[in-house]
Symmetry: C2
Subunit: 118 residues, 2 copies
DNA sequence: GTTGAATCTGACACCGATGTGAGATTTTAC
DNA sequence: GTAAAATCTCACATCGGTGTCAGATTCAAC
């Protein structure tokens, strides 16, 4: 599949897909003329990248962790190194903290909304 | 209190405090010489601003919503306009979505960590 | 008064993800 | 073969929050 189709199927802009590749989060074959050619699995991969980005992980960490993740067709290609595990644990803590913060903020907004409604 | 003390007490940089004021999220009196002078309530206010920023609200929205919030000493100074309520509701939806996304991401990270540990 | 610390304004820099535009090349459809 | 659509690379722009530096001014303490 070419980059345009991958963009359409994932809802991610062509520009972003190229960016993901530049940051080693996404790989592609190249056609004789240099055009990118993606495997079917790229769709899931891109969606996953978006999710991790939305969760605040940096491109580098995403590129590090992707090979350690269970693929669509089986087990992970690699196992996380101790260093990576440490990084991921820190990310998880940060995420937990973010979730708590978001919950508190939601309560605050709810209160303002309720005050205006009541 | 002066800006340096406010910075120390909130852990927010002097630069950011000035930025908050520029974006109308924070107000200050001025001394004869032009130095900022803050009331005691500014401490809570700054912490609240940080929380809202961390939750992804823009400076403009924060400035809009702050007057509608219950202050330390009583009820809100203003009531949210219908427009603002609409905005805040959208923010709440976005926050709910973010929380879900973060939970999913956390599960993914947990899986990778568990795989590496096991 | 003098001096050192604090504060002032204003400007420029950065990061990360994405937008955008130019100009060249490739692919696709007829 | 030719025209149109898609893709290529490269570079510069944007946004929000913050860092940082420079030069001027003010405050606090002695």
């Amino acid at each position: 599949m070419k980059i345009g189709e991958l963009s359409r199927r994932t809802g991610v802009s062509v520009r972003s897909l190229r960016y993901y590749e530049q940051k080693s989060m996404l790989v592609s074959e190249r056609t004789a003329g240099g055009h990118r050619e993606y495997m079917e699995a790229a769709v899931d991969r891109v969606i996953l990248i978006q999710q991790l980005l939305a969760a605040g992980l940096s491109g580098n960490k995403i590129a590090s962790v992707l090979p350690c993740m269970r693929d669509h067709d089986g087990g992970p290609a690699e196992t996380a190194t101790p260093w990576l595990v440490e990084q991921l644990t820190a990310e998880r803590d940060r995420i937990n903290h973010s979730i708590d913060d978001l919950r508190r903020t939601r309560e605050i907004l709810d209160e303002v909304i309720a005050t205006a409604a009541g």
